[in-house]
């Protein structure tokens, strides 16, 4: 043992109390998280508390509100439109999350190469992500117009029947899935890319030396090591999908016939079109509870199945 290690071991035997406290992991942990906690507490937790209070009120944000206890929540439980909104949100999430993550994984693997022009392809995948939602909405409305849109034109060329897309109550939500996958794929791809880049080169080389093919390497070495990133993307995509709003606002506005009214859009209608902000806050809290449960479930499954290198 080196002299330095000896000295350290010796001092470890009798650390001063103040040194023990200040060096303790508890204090260090709290010190590290304090800036973040303060910022998030002030700018998120306080507003979230305010919204909770609002959900117990009848309030149009204009006249002074008054407390009505749990009346908003009770009304929500009986609200058929809220139930429809939940249905639409679930359909959207259940399609969007797997499609976008599996698609992104495939793309990320394809982009994790050092071929010529790879920067261009990476950039291409990234471009939809930076496009503003308004511009994306306009472009998709044009593309999917039943009479003049390009997609129907292409369908016509290959002899398939014309579709109504965003004007068809049965198709609209899936068109929104397509639009949001297009817009968000880049995000999942760069997260996967960053994770792929962190896989130690020697592990991949070892697998090659052992004679494993590309697919076998992927399945047994790469994919397990992508566990933390995959878990992150699944949780994050779900949280986002359940709060879908912007893309609906710039295209279908909840239609046609309410088929794309998702929970947050319903909230927005209640709060800012019907001036029922208390009811909107209650919707937000029910949604919050649901997202929390789903996320905890995902994290719990992740804890048992995700492999962290250390």
């Amino acid at each position: 043992m080196t002299a330095r290690a000896e000295r350290i071991r010796a001092s470890d035997q009798r650390p001063a109390l103040w040194r023990r406290v200040l060096g303790s992991e508890h204090l260090a942990g709290w010190a590290f998280v304090t800036p973040a906690v303060v910022l998030i507490a002030v700018f998120f937790l306080i507003p979230i508390g305010w919204a909770l209070l609002l959900s117990f009120q009848a309030n149009n944000l204009l006249a002074p509100g008054h407390y009505i206890g749990l009346a908003n929540y009770r009304a929500l439980a009986k609200d058929p439109q809220f139930r429809s909104a939940i249905g639409h949100t679930i359909v959207y999430t259940v399609v969007f999350v797997p499609v976008s993550i599996i698609g992104a994984l495939g793309l990320a693997v394809a982009l994790d190469r050092r071929i010529r022009g790879i920067s261009f392809y990476r950039l291409a995948v990234f471009v939809p992500l930076v496009t503003s939602t308004v511009a994306t909405g306009i472009v998709f409305l044009w593309l999917l117009d039943p009479t003049f849109g390009v997609v129907n034109y292409l369908l016509h060329l290959v002899g398939l029947p014309q579709q109504k897309f965003l004007q068809d109550p049965n198709q609209a939500i899936y068109c929104i899935v397509a639009m949001t996958v297009w817009g968000w794929l880049g995000f999942d791809v760069i997260v996967f890319l960053a994770a792929l880049q962190s896989i130690p080169q020697d592990l991949l080389e070892a697998s090659e030396i052992d004679g494993a093919g590309k697919w076998a390497t992927f399945r047994s070495v790469v994919f397990p090591l992508l566990g933390p990133a995959t878990l992150f993307l699944v949780v994050w995509s779900t949280i986002n999908a359940l709060q879908l709003f912007d893309e609906i606002y710039v295209t279908t506005r909840g239609g046609p016939l309410g088929s794309t009214t998702v929970i947050v859009y319903y909230l927005y209608e209640q709060a800012f079109q019907f001036f029922n902000a208390g009811y909107g806050a209650a919707i937000a809290y029910v949604l919050f509870a649901a997202i929390l449960v789903v996320t905890l479930l995902q994290l719990w499954i992740g804890r048992r199945r995700v492999y962290y290198v250390s």
Binding site: P35, N60, L61, L62, A63, P64, G137, I138, L141, W142, D145, P146, T147, F148, L166, Q167, P169, T251, T252, R253, G254, G255, P256, L257, G258, E269, F272, Q273, F274, F275
Partner: protein, 433 residues
């Protein structure tokens, strides 16, 4: 140690950057206030873009130059619904703007706010307002339960715009002021040509108020009304309402209607020569004129009458103290005076907000500058009915919007859609507020 110093420096820079670029903290109307010399600064929030934005800046400048004790600052607050969130935030923060442009459909709810200034007393004391000179429909929308809370900011109405070339090709004579629904229906069907992707008519079908208000015009033309006179029950589920809905169903069934999804693509389709007729207002005129299709403007066809619908908006004044309220009202009186309003109309193509503007010298130039606008001005006489100005109206609108949309998409029969909508509306009207 070095790292900790670096952290501290970076944090300090961040905070300094934040603090350094902050300005006065008084929220909406941040440059407002009154100084000891009696000079008052007020802000006016608007959603104007393009020519209208240029116009309001120019007129504010003119006002400031001629009124030395008041300075008006126009501020852009986004457009449509986002604006409401901003206004609500400012109100919640206790510092609303002095004047704000607010949609007519929000009037009933805005009136419930304690800092909304009731303008009646000021108008009564000052006959130079010439209040009844404002168009009836505009005055209606600014009056909630008998209280005046808005000065008319915008008036418009729906008229018929038709494509001369397509009419000539189809051999249909030009629409006249005596056109009936039957004439209109026949023309729309004749102008429909799927092979050329040509439609007879266009309708905004996003189930929003834009979908609903066209239907109301038809309802009124057929002699119907929206609610019973006491405002407690739906009255649109009537023979008149059914006739209007059936017309929509018939035309949709012939594929005569280009169904717009709310993004106003109908305008581009019209200017590229694919639509025969539009029911639209002066806001589309500049683009129609630039579109190179020969067009004509006519009043709407009649069933029992030629009624049209108007969508007025308000300037609302908020109470930031007596001095600023007084200054705000002074500005609005100036801004809506006949001479200034004509200037506004000349710069923007908006309709005059007062009847007496038509007597101003220079009015004929206005009519010449915007070909067809004269019809809309005359059509204001046909805008005799208004939508109910109540806090429940937005919900009513949503219900009826979905009913109209379902008929246009062929998903419901007219009577069924109407009955269901009426039932829902009655439920809304009878619910405790």
């Amino acid at each position: 140690m070095k790292r900790v110093c670096l952290l501290i420096i970076m944090s300090a820079l961040l905070v300094a950057g934040c603090g350094g670029s902050s300005h006065s903290s008084s929220g909406g109307g941040s440059t407002s206030g009154s100084s000891a010399g009696g000079h008052v600064n007020i802000t006016i929030w608007h959603g104007y873009t393009d020519q209208e934005a240029t116009a309001i800046k120019a007129l504010a400048k003119e006002f400031n130059a001629t009124h030395s004790n008041v300075t008006v600052t126009p501020q852009f607050y986004g457009n449509s619904d986002y604006a409401l969130q901003k206004v609500l935030a400012a109100i919640a923060g206790g510092k609303p703007p002095d004047i704000s442009y607010l949609y007519g459909s929000w009037a009933a709810n805005i009136a419930t706010n304690p800092s909304t200034v009731e303008l009646g007393p000021y108008i009564e004391k000052d006959p130079s307002w010439n209040w009844n000179d404002f168009w009836q429909a505009a005055r209606n929308v600014g009056t909630v339960n008998g209280k005046i809370i808005g000065v008319p900011a915008l008036i418009d109405n729906l008229a018929l715009v038709w494509n001369k070339k397509l009419f000539a090709q189809a051999g249909i004579p030009a629409p006249t002021a005596n056109w009936t629904w039957t004439d209109f229906e026949n023309a729309a069907i004749k102008l429909t040509n799927p092979a050329k992707k040509q439609f007879g008519w266009a309708y905004v079908n996003d189930a929003s108020e834009d979908t609903v208000w066209r239907y109301w015009a038809m309802l009124w033309q057929a002699g119907g009304s929206i609610l019973t006179p006491d405002g407690k029950q739906a009255a649109f589920d009537s023979p008149a309402g059914l006739k209007a809905m059936t017309l929509l169903q018939t035309l949709a069934g012939h594929n005569s209607i280009y169904l717009d999804d709310g993004s106003d693509t109908y305008l581009g389709v019209f200017t590229s020569g694919h639509i025969g007729m539009l029911w639209t207002g002066p806001w589309d005129l500049s683009q129609i004129t630039a579109g190179n299709q020969p067009y004509g403007v006519q009043i709407l066809p009649a069933d029992q009458n030629h009624q049209t619908i108007s969508g007025p908006d308000n300037w609302v004044v908020f109470n930031n103290g007596a001095a600023r309220v007084k200054a705000a009202i002074e500005f609005l009186k100036w801004f809506t005076s006949p001479a200034i309003d004509l200037k506004w109309a000349m710069m923007t193509g908006d309709l005059p907000i007062r009847a007496s503007v038509m007597n101003q010298p220079g009015y004929q130039q206005f009519v010449k500058k915007y070909p067809g606008i004269g019809v809309w001005v005359q059509n204001l006489k046909n805008a005799t009915q208004s939508r109910p100005v109540t806090t429940t109206y937005p919900k009513i609108s949503t219900v009826v919007g979905q009913a109209v949309q379902s008929v246009l998409l062929g998903k419901a029969q007219p009577q069924q859609a109407l009955s269901s909508a009426a039932q829902q509306v009655n439920g809304i009207l009878s619910a405790p507020s």
